[in-house]
């Protein structure tokens, strides 16, 4: 009987691995130490070196580099230290020490990752031993800087379900009851001619003509005109999103834009349209200097403007950097809370959440809103998607959440490529910023406060953030739909949702209860926000031990047992008259192994 996926390598040193590989050549996938390579993944280089683990010290071992990942396995430690890092996670590779540096393990590589960790490897000083590995890492971690393809385009993965079918804009708008007599679907952007960072399909006020849209586009930064994101099923109040108006220093006005916003207000008879400008007031004013600005009182008489005080991408980047400083490699324990406070990370989370709460509250009380920041692809996406998550329980299901991300983030042009820097060596690029991670953090805060309201669990959120960087799937690649189209992402890469939806069981929340019409208002008070320890500090072995929720684990096991039992019962009933002998044999080991596991999983350390 073959058991290809779980080789008993634990005790055998890695020198033997080649012979073991040889014996497995019949298998399609070539095992890499003890992980199976992905279809399309190819080995590039192996090397003996020392991993300078910040938690367990120097670990001798071997590193394997493929076109997708860096895999390290320690040789002589117990328990075995392994690392499995997709190259996409790497933001920077540096040489550490020189040929003449003294001190043990002072010569090697220092790798900075996008996911809150750093990796250091030490090599022998003789004979430029790091040259080849450095160059290979540099090339494969930053393929776009070297004229190579991202791994997502080389991957040959196949899944039962095609994740690219998760989001169909028309279907989603139809679910919301659109088009209706006040709102229509416009195809004006079919060739991305109106706005190259918007999707092809837009929902706009019924009364606005295509010509109106074009004129409004001239007055909005990057032509990102106000379009509908969500409509309330009962009161028909809407969330619309856009970019800042091009008011400039001279305080320009645009009648078409003013009239257009009034059409949005009029659509459900809201007396006053509320415009949420995500920025702090000062920043909005400062934007006038570069031609932007905000909607002035006299120009937009039927609208009230509210600033939400959320800071820009640079502030968020620095904040997360500070957070990393206090949690990696060692947690700043002596003044943990005040150190955490000085990063301001939770404060930013609070502002984003409370902004979204205001939006949701306005809409559920029957008033339409317009949300924008400067370009309308960072803070705006955070606010609209969080507000939609609070208002619409559909987005709190596993598939609904995927639709939400596909719609508000991916199709509306959050600049994933620029913010994450996929495959790009320029680690200091000022365009990079953890806006999307911050959003996922906000979602996590909501799942914490409403443990039964979300169909998905924390593991899904972590998987999303991991694959945000991994470049294994096409889902988060490129800045907007038009670029994605020209790169044929949907046909040449696999969607992350293919992976997720082909095996949903590990991403489900056992305590989910369906409540269709409930609006969730999380408490956005500092006292109720928590640091997402199981993500930001997960590399720390002390935290890792607690990561897996024993409750979920237990629940899953019992469900599996129940299914197993039901199946067996069926078999038994079928074969009632003459029980075939294999049944007795097969049932015992199957049943016994999970039961045994059960006794150990209680204590998560």
């Amino acid at each position: 009987m073959a058991s290809p996926s779980i080789p008993a390598y634990n005790s055998s040193p890695l020198e033997n691995s080649s012979s073991q590989n040889a014996s497995r050549e019949s298998l399609k996938m070539e095992p890499l130490a003890d992980v199976a390579l992905l279809p399309g993944e190819e080995r590039v280089i192996d090397k003996d070196l020392i991993y300078m683990c910040p938690f367990s010290g120097a670990v001798k071992g071997k590193v394997f580099i493929t076109n997708y990942r860096l895999y390290f396995k320690g040789t002589d430690t117990d328990p075995t230290v392994t690392l499995d890092v997709p190259l996409g996670v790497i933001s920077r590779v540096e040489k550490m020490g020189g040929a003449s540096s003294r001190g043990e393990n002072s010569y090697g590589l220092d790798i900075t990752c996008k996911d809150m960790r750093n990796l250091r490897f030490a090599l022998k000083q003789e004979g430029h031993s790091r040259r080849d590995i450095f160059e290979i890492l540099f090339r494969f971690a930053f393929p776009l800087s070297h004229g190579l393809q991202l791994f997502a385009f080389q991957s040959q993965e196949k899944y039962e379900e095609n994740g690219w079918n998760v989001y169909k804009p028309l279907e989603e708008y139809r679910r919301q009851g659109l088009p209706n007599e006040k709102w229509r679907v416009s195809f004006i952007n079919e060739r991305y001619e109106l706005c190259d960072t918007y999707p092809t399909l837009l929902v706009v006020p019924f009364k606005a003509s295509e010509e109106d849209l074009k004129r409004v586009a001239t007055f909005r930064s990057r032509s990102r005109i106000p379009v509908l994101s969500w409509i309330h099923p009962e009161n028909h109040a809407v969330i619309t999103r856009c970019s800042q108006p091009l008011v400039g220093m001279s305080g320009k006005r645009n009648r078409d834009d003013e009239r257009y916003l009034d059409l949005i207000r009029e659509a459900n008879g809201t007396p006053k349209l509320t415009i949420y400008d995500a920025r702090p007031n000062v920043n909005a004013v400062a934007n006038k200097a570069t031609g932007g600005g905000y909607e002035g009182d006299d120009a937009y008489q039927n609208a009230e403007l509210v600033f939400l005080d959320i800071h820009n991408i640079h502030v968020m980047r620095e904040s997360l950097k500070k957070l990393k400083d206090i949690v990696y490699p060692n947690v700043e324990e002596s003044h943990w809370l005040s150190s955490l406070e000085s990063t301001h990370w939770l404060e930013h989370i609070k502002l984003v959440l409370s902004g979204a709460i205001q939006v949701a509250d306005k809409v559920s009380s029957g008033n339409s809103v317009v949300v924008h920041c400067s370009d309308g692809w960072d803070r705006t996406a955070q606010l609209t998607s969080l507000a939609m998550l609070m208002l619409d329980s559909h987005y709190r299901t596993l598939r609904g959440f995927q639709v939400l991300l596909e719609k508000e983030w991916i199709s509306f042009g959050h600049k994933f490529a620029s913010r994450i820097g996929h495959g790009d060596k320029n680690h200091a690029d000022q365009d990079r910023s953890p806006i999307f991670v911050q959003f996922i953090d906000c979602v996590w805060q909501m799942t914490k406060q409403f443990p039964t309201a979300f169909e998905f669990n924390e593991r899904l959120l972590v998987a999303i953030v991991d694959h945000l960087y991994s470049c294994r799937f096409g889902t988060f690649l490129y800045n907007c739909e038009s670029v994605r189209d020209s790169n044929e992402v949907r046909t040449k890469t696999v969607s992350l949702w293919s992976l997720i939806n082909s095996d949903t069981s590990s991403y489900l929340n056992p305590f989910y209860t369906v409540e269709s019409s409930r609006v969730l208002y999380p408490v956005a008070s500092m006292r109720h926000l928590e640091l997402w320890v199981t993500y930001y500090i997960r590399w720390n072995p002390r935290i890792r031990q607690q990561q897996q929720s024993p409750v979920e684990q237990r629940y899953k096991e019992l469900l599996a047992l129940r299914d197993q039992y039901l199946k067996k019962l069926e078999e038994l009933q079928l074969s009632d008259s003459s029980p075939p002998p294999h049944l007795t044999n097969s049932s015992t080991p199957n049943a016994a192994s999970p039961t045994q596991r059960v006794t150990h999983l209680q204590t998560p350390f």
Partner: protein
């Protein structure tokens, strides 16, 4: 003293009550000897507020014109406002509340008057006793015995009448050892770890004093505890500097030369005033209604409450580690042996002893380690965080215990049979109660006042079938393993269920708890259905395996 002397105005009409999370209501306020009663006069809604005066920690009155407002701050941290028409009535009510709520005469407290119809004074008071426990612990008989040397409380006033000590030590030795320990609290057994026969003992500090006195009998007693094994540990809940200083006032510690088989470890735990002030700071920070909350985390840190939680849990972890992992017996003491000592021994038992994690087991643990072992509840819980009165002996040691237990329940959601509701209830009852359980400072006082004859027992009450259910953790599953708490600061959290209960209570968490109950019950029912279908095909042999699985399943 008659209560009526203090009640000049018993009834006031048209009072407006303002309280957290409810609309303000108009009604009648009534002051009785033990309660503040408020009821609205609506026909169909018979809403009432019945507040034990004992629960009131501080009151503030503000007179404006002809009416006044009384702000009532309760020991369970709830804050109420009463708008009372008529200046005189307001002042009368305020002075009644002030006088009656600070009443210190125990036999006149409410538990002595609480007579609900469905409870009888004949009911058993208390869950168990040392004597009763000992009869069930036959594995102890070889090396341990029950001593009644303290049956009249003369050897140690704060100990119960019966204690468990090494068999080889006679009562005379105990009497002498008791004279060498502060308050007579000589080392006694509090936990026997049946896996390896190791024990946790507790006591107070030895009275070595400045000239390093010795006591042969005390040394013998401790020698008998480890009985030939290599080594025992003494976990002193003071820093070694503090232990040194204690010699100046007659106290001290076990020196290496006299107790050669015992290794002392010092872990500094705060107590007394420091803890009380920490609680006050924390409650202040939690109640801060100002909108700029940007300093919240600093304030939380400055209160030091979570670092007390950290120290307590890690010291308990240390004791548990000695017993369970290293296989050594441990003696725990600080100075008095009635506060931090009990914190550490209780939590250590929760960590290693699965029995104490059940609802009944936990309440019995509290009864044994806190009520019977003489934690001075009457002194420690006289006031909570709001009182302006000069602090005397107040200290939230028991509250700190409950907080630590809550941290355990958060880290091990399946391990404890009881839930947060129980902890909240206990926190409330310890400060003001209808029951006699938390009255007095020790068993001697309880006997003298007839507490067990004249009041009802809280623990028995909580275990009644009608009450029990609400305190159960739906996800509980017994485990024999120790539950080692994580004590890193990023793993410890503010107990928001208690500290933010009245200010920023997250309603949704309560709803979520209900939903989880429902889900669990649904699965139980489903499992029931399957059981019947299983019975149908029972003649199929392999089902015996499946049957075992079914038992597993009924857990969820």
């Amino acid at each position: 003293m008659e209560f009526s002397e203090h009640i000049k105005t018993a009834n006031v009409e048209d009072v407006i009550l303002r309280q957290p999370f409810r609309p303000s209501i108009k009604g009648t306020l009534c002051v009785t000897g033990h309660h503040l009663l408020f009821s609205d006069r609506e026909e169909d809604s018979s809403w009432q507020l019945l507040l034990l005066l004992r629960n009131i920690d501080a009151i503030e009155k503000r007179i404006t014109g002809s009416s006044g407002t009384i702000t009532i701050k309760c020991k369970d941290l709830c804050v109420l406002h009463l708008d009372i028409p008529g200046m005189e009535q307001c002042l009368n009510i305020a002075s009644s509340i002030e006088a009656l709520s600070s009443f210190e005469n125990i036999p006149e407290m409410y538990p002595f008057f609480h007579r609900p119809q469905d409870l009888s004074l004949e009911d058993t008071w208390g869950l168990s006793s040392t004597e009763e426990d000992f009869t069930h612990m036959q594995e102890l008989y070889d090396r341990w015995r029950l001593s009644l040397v303290n049956s009249d409380f003369s050897i140690c006033p704060s100990y119960p009448s019966a204690v468990i000590v090494p068999r080889s030590v006679d009562d005379e030795t105990l009497v002498k050892a008791a004279r060498f320990r502060q308050g007579g609290r000589f080392p006694v057994l509090c936990y026997y770890h049946s896996k390896n026969g190791m024990v946790i003992m507790r006591s107070s500090q030895p009275m070595t004093g400045a000239n390093r006195k010795r006591c042969r009998e005390d040394e013998l007693l401790l020698q008998a505890v480890i009985d030939g094994s290599e080594l025992g540990y003494i976990v002193d809940t003071r820093s070694s500097q503090q232990a040194q200083q204690a010699r100046m006032t007659g106290g001290g510690f076990e020196s290496k030369s006299c107790y050669s088989h015992w290794k002392r470890l010092h872990r500094h735990l705060e107590r007394g005033k420091v803890l009380q002030e920490s609680l006050i700071k924390l409650v202040e920070a939690c109640g801060d209604q100002s909108h700029s909350m940007d300093r919240w985390l600093s304030k939380l840190e400055n209160s030091k409450w979570l670092s007390h939680v950290h120290c307590t849990l890690s010291t308990a972890g240390l004791v548990a580690e000695c017993v369970e992992r290293d296989g050594h017996s441990v003696l725990v003491h600080g100075s008095d042996g009635t506060d931090t000592t009990l914190l550490v021994t209780t939590l250590a038992q929760l960590i290693v002893d699965p029995q104490s994690r059940t609802l009944r087991g936990f309440l019995r643990l509290l009864e044994k380690e806190w009520i019977q072992a003489g934690h001075p509840f009457q002194q420690r819980c006289a006031h909570s965080a709001y009182s302006h009165a000069r602090l005397k002996q107040e200290s939230p040691v028991f509250l700190l215990l409950l907080d630590c237990v809550w941290q355990l329940s958060r880290q091990f959601p399946l391990a404890l049979e009881f839930n947060e509701m129980l902890l909240l209830r206990l926190a409330q009852e310890a400060y003001a109660s209808d029951f006699g359980t938390f009255l007095c400072n020790c068993e001697q006082e309880r006997c003298a006042l007839g507490v067990k004859e004249k009041t009802h027992c809280l623990f028995q009450f909580l275990l009644r079938p009608s009450e029990r259910e609400q305190f159960l953790n739906p996800l509980y599953e017994h485990t024999d393993l120790a539950i080692w708490p994580c004590v890193q600061p990023q793993s410890l959290h503010l107990w928001s269920g208690f500290f933010l209960r009245w200010t920023e209570h997250a309603q949704n968490m309560e709803e979520a708890r209900q939903e989880i109950w429902t889900i669990v019950n649904q699965y139980r029912e489903k499992a029931g259905v399957e059981e019947t279908s299983q019975a149908l095909s029972k003649h199929c042999e392999p089902l015996s395996v499946v049957e075992n699985l079914m038992e597993e399943l009924t857990v969820l």
